[in-house]
């Protein structure tokens, strides 16, 4: 027989095995029940429009004196930071003694179409910060921005330095024009005015399509082949489905804020090149003089590491630290290594700056 790189019997075996798994998986899927997300107990403490501010129940007797407010992106839902008990950035922070608040932006509808960056940064975030400050009798709190929420956090800190004690950014895009920033390149030719004028709020499904298009073979094919391998393990299957739920749980983006974000950041790169104004006030990273911790993922396909690393060149602060996480944009929240490395590192960095 001639030597071929493929073995006929193994092709047959694999095909039949796949079908066996598929059939067995149907049973598993029918018995899984509800796919729950959000592991840590929390309480809604403030609400405004679609926004809800949550406070997580502390897990130590004497949590840190200065509370930590998490600002998540408008894209996708914030429960990624607290997906399940053993995959939760928030739980890790609570275990490390932090007193954690989180802004949930909700699902904007057509009535929110005209909200601008000014409303989010100088409005919603500022009022949430005010609320937390008042509750704790403090003038300044710690801020943790995730992804686009990190960009918002940078803008907020630049505009309201008196309200932020320490700033942490996670997988945050700063320079939108680095060579490997695929999303940045795709945005250049997009007629965002026409898009927003046409659809109003930008559908979450359109964003999903964009993100899947970054790695289509893996994200629309291989991922489900991997899923077939875990169909007979209910625990792994539930983990997979939680992630799947999060990936496709994409709120629509308020039209005007999307228009501004694409134009100012993705197309014109104003955060780095200058000229950014929010609410008629200039925003410069040089205005940020508080301590900054920048955490980025080395294999991030959505926010390339270089895009985040650029922050160091533009800040006004002299206290700037970085953590390079060996993983991707999602792994930084949910991987086992992330649970061990990221929350304790954040807590240590904050403690060093608590006095």
């Amino acid at each position: 027989m001639i030597q071929t790189p493929l073995q006929p019997q193994r092709i047959l075996d694999d095909a039949l095995e796949f079908n066996r798994k598929l059939a067995a998986g149907l049973n598993s899927l029918s018995q899984l029940g509800e796919i729950s997300v959000g592991a840590s107990p929390k309480e809604a403490v403030y609400a405004e429009d679609k926004l809800v501010l949550y406070r997580y129940r502390p897990r130590v007797d004497r949590p840190a004196k200065t509370p930590l407010l998490i600002v998540y992106a408008l894209v996708n839902r914030p429960y990624m930071a607290d997906l399940q008990e053993d995959r939760s950035l928030i739980r890790g922070l609570l275990d490390s003694g932090e007193d954690v608040y989180l802004i949930d932006w909700g699902y904007p509808d057509a009535a929110d179409r005209f909200l601008q960056l000014d409303d989010y940064i100088n409005g919603y975030i500022h009022r949430c910060v005010d609320y937390v400050c008042k509750q704790h009798g403090m003038r300044r709190i710690n801020l943790l921005g995730i992804c686009q929420g990190g960009t918002f956090g940078l803008c907020y800190t630049a505009l309201h330095p008196e309200r932020v004690r320490n700033l942490i950014t996670m997988v945050t895009p700063v320079d939108f024009h680095t060579a490997n920033n695929t999303l940045g390149q795709w945005a250049q030719g997009l007629d965002v005015d026409l898009l927003v004028d046409t659809v109003g709020n930008v559908p979450g499904e359109l964003l999903n399509w964009t993100f899947l298009s970054l790695k289509p073979f893996r994200l629309t094919g291989q991922k489900y082949a991997d899923m077939a391998d875990m169909l007979d393990d209910p625990k792994k299957l539930k983990n997979f489905l939680r992630m799947e739920k999060w990936i496709f749980d994409s709120p629509d983006q308020p039209g005007e804020v999307f228009r501004q974000f694409i134009k100012y950041f993705y197309q014109q790169n104003r955060l780095v090149t200058g000229g950014l104004e929010i609410g008629a006030r200039p925003v410069s990273l040089q205005q940020i003089t508080v301590p900054v911790l920048n955490i980025y993922a080395t294999q991030d396909h959505l926010v390339p590491a270089e895009s985040s690393i650029a922050l160091g060149k533009h800040l006004g602060t002299s206290d700037y630290s970085t953590i390079a996480f060996q993983g991707g944009h999602i792994g930084i929240y949910v991987s086992g290594r992330a649970q061990k490395e990221i929350p304790p590192a954040i807590a240590r960095w904050l403690q060093d700056r608590s006095s």
């Binding site: 027989m1 071929t4 493929l6 092709i11 059939a23 029918s30 250049q188 898009l195 496709f248 003089t289």
Partner: protein
């Protein structure tokens, strides 16, 4: 829960029974079963149609209905993947069968190249040039398939109309676009002149969109071709080295790696972002025009329109902003009043009150908030800057 579980079990039995039959037929043809004797007689294919794939489709369509709503979508995706996966298995099986049939040693590499070429044709636009959604996109589940759903969901016209325009009217007969273009150039006349103009414009924008879809799909088809080339190169390498890749899963993973590599090559070209942007822009131009047409009809029927709602939303939004600005101004004024009162209290305590020159005008000044607010506003940034410079003066090592 109990019902869906029992129902799922029943569907599982149906599928496994079917698998047993396929297994028996396949094993008869496998080398272990003395097979590969009758080339072309694949038990899972008939007339070029994959029976196994068909069976899987039918089974999964029915079976997923037995699942809770929450997991139906995932099960559908899994079944879709299964179809592609098994199609790949069939292709490779067929290639191997030809290579080793009747004990005749055949040139593996030549057959492999031939097989990959056939796979390429089946997965490109070549097979069904009229429909860019067919072939490559449906076989490998690439972005075009997702885009198809988005395009339809964003259009106020039914998906079938869009498909008819795309498939039946344009692609199948290459001469039609030119004819249409010619017709679109004719000046509208008579009482319905404006309507004719709108329809002409809609047709023109529809053609633009179809062209954008076709251009993007052709680019993705090139990705598939390149992926197959890369896969062929890798298999040849393994063959020359006398190494074994293994089974179907390993082949599938290799395909994914080659696919991503080919896709990354295409992403790096300026063509990709340009065509992708045009895909979105062309759809938006079409949809924007459709909206205007629909709005006109709705206005004629005295029905509310999207534009009217947007206007209302915008006014509400602007009013809210004005209200917030006013509230903020009032808060600033109140704070200044409080500060002034505190200052006066302190002065009283330390006995400087008698030195106040204009107590009477101070009272009236309180009422005219504008004059008192302005200087205080100017002072605020100075204070902030002062704090900032103090902090920066502290020596700190920069860890980054």
């Amino acid at each position: 829960m109990a019902d869906s579980s029992q129902s799922a079990e029943a569907w599982t039995r149906v599928w496994l029974d079917a698998q047993k039959q396929f297994l028996g037929a396949w094993q008869q043809l496998s080398p272990a079963g003395g097979g590969f004797q009758t080339p072309g007689a694949l038990p899972f294919s008939a007339g070029g149609t994959s029976l196994w794939g068909q069976a899987l489709d039918q089974w999964s369509r029915m079976a997923t209905l037995a699942l809770p709503t929450e997991t139906q979508d995932v099960a559908g995706r899994l079944a879709g993947l299964g179809r592609s996966y098994l199609q790949m298995g069939e292709t490779f099986w067929h290639m191997l069968q030809q290579t080793q049939s009747a004990g005749v040693v055949t040139d593996w590499q030549a057959l492999m190249n031939q097989g990959l070429e056939q796979l390429g044709k089946a997965s490109s636009l070549g097979e069904t040039p009229s429909d860019p959604w067919c072939g490559f996109a449906t076989l490998w589940g690439l972005p075009v398939d997702t885009w198809k759903r988005i395009g339809v969901s964003l259009s106020p016209f039914p998906g079938e109309l869009e498909k008819a325009l795309r498939g039946g009217g344009v692609g199948e007969t290459p001469g039609i676009p030119a004819t249409l273009e010619h017709l679109l150039g004719l000046p509208p006349l008579g009482y319905t002149r404006e309507l004719q103009e709108q329809v002409q414009e809609w047709t023109r924008l529809s053609l633009e969109y179809v062209r954008a879809v076709q251009a993007f799909t052709r680019l993705l088809a090139k990705v598939a071709q390149r992926a197959l080339e890369l896969m062929g190169e890798r298999l040849t390498e393994l063959s020359c080295q006398g190494e074994s890749l293994g089974g179907l899963r390993a082949a599938y993973d290799l395909w994914i790696d080659c696919g991503e590599a080919a896709y990354a090559e295409t992403l790096a070209t300026p063509e990709f972002p340009a065509l992708q942007a045009e895909l979105v822009n062309a759809l938006m131009r079409l949809k924007y025009h459709e909206q205007r047409m629909v709005e006109e009809v709705m206005t004629g029927l005295n029905m509310p329109t999207r534009q009217e709602l947007d206007t209302s939303h915008k006014r509400v939004y602007e009013l809210r902003r004005e209200l917030r600005d006013l509230q903020a101004s009032m808060q600033t004024m109140t704070s200044l009043d409080e500060l002034r009162d505190q200052l006066e209290e302190l002065r009283d305590k330390i006995g400087t009150t008698p030195r106040r020159v204009v107590p009477a005008t101070g009272r009236s000044a309180k009422k005219t908030g504008v004059t008192r607010k302005m200087p205080a506003r100017k002072k605020a940034p100075v204070k902030a800057a002062g704090r900032a410079s103090t902090r920066r003066a502290k020596p700190k090592s920069r860890k980054g």
